[in-house]
């Protein structure tokens, strides 16, 4: 529509207020998750048609208790609301509050209102008011807060249309401040701020002064004045504390007139559940049980769709081979692109299941109980109770796991968590483990149920956790970072998870993973294919050279072709590369072909299998359709005459992959999250060094 207008609405609120439920109600499925430039905080946006003429872009800002940020996530809220040149700067803010803890929610509301942005208050979970004996005098509250207040229930779809109606008329909203506490804190000081920075609202100036990081939209002239006030640090700290105290005074005065609660609360259930879930024995038993269920489902449930995906991609490759004309481009599609995409898609079931469990545990409120339960134990290893979530998520993929470490308040605890998460056995190691175990561990059963191969896989999982925990302990002892740790976590009410919210989270997060990691893996497989399919002079003249070196005359055509292909691979660009690192990896029991796989799987571990498949299929010109496993089994070590993948070299590879930092995506995310190359490089050198040593010991002892 030519005359349609577009406004921006920001949703802000405390965690656990049902803000995302409300967002889902307002936008339906018309949403997308992006990234904020420079950092990887999920940016959720959606569209809501307020009227035929007015379309609104909704931005779901991260949950926070205050506009003063204590984490990267919360910083987004501050930066969006304080900078009116920010592309997401809202025309109107909806502060989502929860009916039971209105007092604390109003703290954030008054801060935002004082910034002078049109702000409405949506009190969520209003359907529970009667049961909890809560009464709110809305008209009086509206007068006191100088804006519109609306009762909603995102889950029961109450009040949504009325909220839209208010948002439609956002221009009529009052933008006066409601809790101007400057007079109570120190009138003169704030007057000086007002005079020095006349273009900003006093509260905005105050926020700019109290935050450590400078904002880039500020003019140098203004920044100078801000820095002048900043230099009075001790005073500012004291004023910040006073601000909190006075803000609550104002809120209490308002709520006394408008809010009443008849205390026969239904906190019984909560107390009972807490007693069981955080019990000193049952608490841990229940947590262990939940972990087992999660792992079981990641492996058992996911294996069915994974097999299906695997065969579908094999069929797709066959189909394309039959349909497309032969040529270089077709080779690229069949040997590079299709296996490349297949290599990503195959992880979708596992990752989706893990995201689903994490979402359920968070929605129900159980996750914060786990944090409470585990904090003391994790602290012995220099981490926080909040490190449990990244460590568990790490079994799917280290990248979202490292991002989830963001809500750990202490930099030291967060850093240690980020550094050790990649040791946990992520799903990308599974294909590597699976194929190597199948090659070197006999398929024996003990007592009818214990399968030796399965036990080996389990042992590798424990090895991953053990490596994470012990390196955390080591880092805890040696890292010389001052620990200004503090730890606050809200233990929210238990809730029944909403299927809609969970499904949206799973879909969005899986999509982000597939497109994020997928791009890298796909690019690597294409590059790899090129490097393996082209080479120098020896590569081009392979046919002649093989002919002239021919040792026996009675080679069949197929055998000759095979020899040429092998010679070509050896002299392709990647062959040259692999050969050049061979001296370094020979003590581990590897040859140049495995060397190529090691190099390429630096992009992502699962590329190891795909690379060997590419290498052996490029080298295999015959009509032989042996599986990759058979090909690996038939590889011969020319020096010993024995198998290339025997017990010694196999164990060496397993250990290498258990420890090595073979993942560019993880390094990139660690760089972004720690804002320096120091930590990812330390991680790369430390982990890969450890991997080398363990692989070396294993091979030298076992050979």
């Amino acid at each position: 529509m030519a005359n349609s207008k577009n406004i921006t609405i920001a949703l802000v609120g405390n965690p656990n207020t049902g803000k995302t439920s409300l967002f889902n109600q307002l936008t339906g499925l018309k949403q997308k998750v992006g990234n904020y430039p420079g950092i990887t905080v999920d940016k959720k946006q959606g569209v809501c048609q307020l009227s035929p003429e007015l379309k609104a872009t909704l931005v779901d800002l991260p949950g926070t208790y205050s506009i003063n940020p204590t984490s990267l996530d919360e910083n987004i809220v501050y930066e969006t609301l304080v900078n009116d040149k920010n592309p997401d700067y809202p025309d109107v803010v909806v502060v989502v509050a929860e009916v039971e803890n209105l007092k604390r929610n109003l703290f954030l509301f008054t801060q935002i209102k004082d910034l002078g942005i049109p702000t409405v208050l949506a009190i969520n979970m209003a359907d529970q008011m009667q049961r909890k004996g809560i009464k709110i005098d809305i008209p009086v509250l509206e007068t006191a807060l100088k804006t519109k207040v609306i009762l909603v229930s995102a889950r029961k779809k109450i009040g949504i249309d009325a909220l839209k109606e208010i948002l439609l008329n956002h221009q009529t909203l009052n933008t006066e401040s409601v809790a101007d506490v400057s007079e109570r804190i120190h009138g003169q000081f704030f007057k000086r701020i007002q005079e020095a920075l006349p273009h900003f609202s006093t509260y905005k100036s105050w926020l700019l002064i109290t935050q450590q990081k400078a904002c880039d939209f500020i003019l140098p002239k203004e920044q100078k004045k801000i820095d002048f006030f900043k230099s009075k640090a001790t005073k500012i700290n004291k004023f910040q504390h006073k601000e909190a105290i006075y803000r609550y005074q104002v809120i209490n005065e308002i709520l006394e007139k408008t809010y009443s609660v008849n205390r026969e609360e239904g906190t019984d259930l909560r107390a009972k559940l807490d007693r069981i879930l955080t019990h000193k024995i049952f608490g841990y038993v229940i947590f262990a049980f939940i972990l087992i269920v999660i792992f079981q489902s990641i492996f058992a449930w996911a294996s069915i769709p994974m097999e299906w995906i695997d065969t579908s991609f094999a069929r797709l490759a066959d189909f394309s081979k039959a349909q497309l004309p032969t040529g270089k481009f077709t080779d690229l599609i069949i040997e590079g692109v299709i296996p490349g995409i297949g290599g990503i898609v195959i992880f979708v079931p596992q990752i989706a299941i893990l995201f689903m469990f994490v979402a359920i545990l968070e929605e129900t409120g159980y996750m914060s109980r786990v944090v409470f339960l585990m904090d003391k134990i994790m602290r012995r290893y220099g981490m926080s109770g909040k490190s449990v979530i990244p460590l568990v998520s790490g079994t799917a993929c280290a990248i979202p796991a490292i991002m989830s470490a963001r809500n750990i308040e202490s930099w030291r605890e967060r850093l240690i968590t980020i550094l050790v998460v990649p040791f946990t056995t992520c799903s990308a190691r599974i294909p590597v483990y699976a194929i190597l175990i199948a090659l070197i561990i006999p398929d024996k059963h003990y007592f009818g149920i214990f399968n030796l191969q399965g036990l080996t896989l389990l042992a590798l999982y424990f090895l991953g956790f053990a490596a994470a925990i012990s390196s955390a302990f080591l880092l805890h002892k040696i890292l010389k970072i001052k620990n200004t740790s503090f730890f606050v976590i809200e233990l929210p009410n238990y809730k029944i998870p909403s299927i809609k919210n969970i499904s949206i989270t799973v879909v969005e997060k899986t999509k982000a993973f597939v497109f994020g990691a997928g791009k890298i893996i796909l690019a690597i497989s294409i590059v790899l294919w090129f490097l393996a399919s082209y080479g120098g002079k020896d590569f081009k003249n392979a046919a002649e050279i093989v002919h002239s070196q021919k040792t026996s005359v009675d080679l069949t055509d197929a055998e000759l072709k095979q020899q040429i292909a092998t010679y070509q691979l050896e002299h392709s660009y990647i062959g040259i590369l692999g050969k050049s690192i061979e001296p370094a990896i020979r003590p581990l029991g590897y040859d140049w072909k495995i060397g190529i796989a090691l190099l390429s799987s630096f992009a992502a571990r699962e590329v190891f299998v795909g690379t060997l498949a590419t290498i052996y299929s490029v080298a295999d010109e015959g009509e032989n359709t042996a599986t990759i496993k058979e090909r690996m089994r038939n590889e011969v070590n020319p020096i010993t005459g024995g198998k290339r993948f025997n017990f010694a070299s196999g164990m060496s590879l397993l250990l290498f992959y258990a420890f090595a930092m073979q993942c560019m995506g993880t390094l990139a995310i660690v760089k972004r999250e720690t804002n320096s190359w120091k930590w990812p490089l330390l991680q790369l050198i430390g982990m890969t060094g450890l991997a080398y040593i363990f692989a070396l010991i294993a091979f030298q002892f076992l050979k």
């Binding site: 007092k103 503090f486 606050v488 809200e490």
Partner: protein, 75 residues
């Protein structure tokens, strides 16, 4: 009698009278843990730390080191 939250027994309550502001995160104040508020120790984690408290209508878990910076008078 003046004690800190860390010295409460499970189920006991107190009124916050003084907070060592320099050692306490602003976030805790902003969540409503302020002088004059009633605080109840609901539970201790299995290893006696962190502490699970109710203050100003919020259910929070804080570590013992933080709790020992908040003085209360027992009721």
């Amino acid at each position: 009698m003046l004690i800190t939250i860390a010295q409460l027994e499970v189920g006991e309550k107190g009124i916050i009278c003084d907070i060592a502001l320099d050692n306490i995160p602003l976030k805790l104040l902003e969540m409503g843990c302020l002088p004059g508020k009633e605080v109840e120790l609901l539970q201790k984690a299995p290893l006696q730390d962190p502490l699970y408290i109710r203050v100003n209508g919020s259910h929070l878990a804080i570590r013992e080191e933080t709790a020992s910076q908040i003085a209360i008078s027992k009721i």
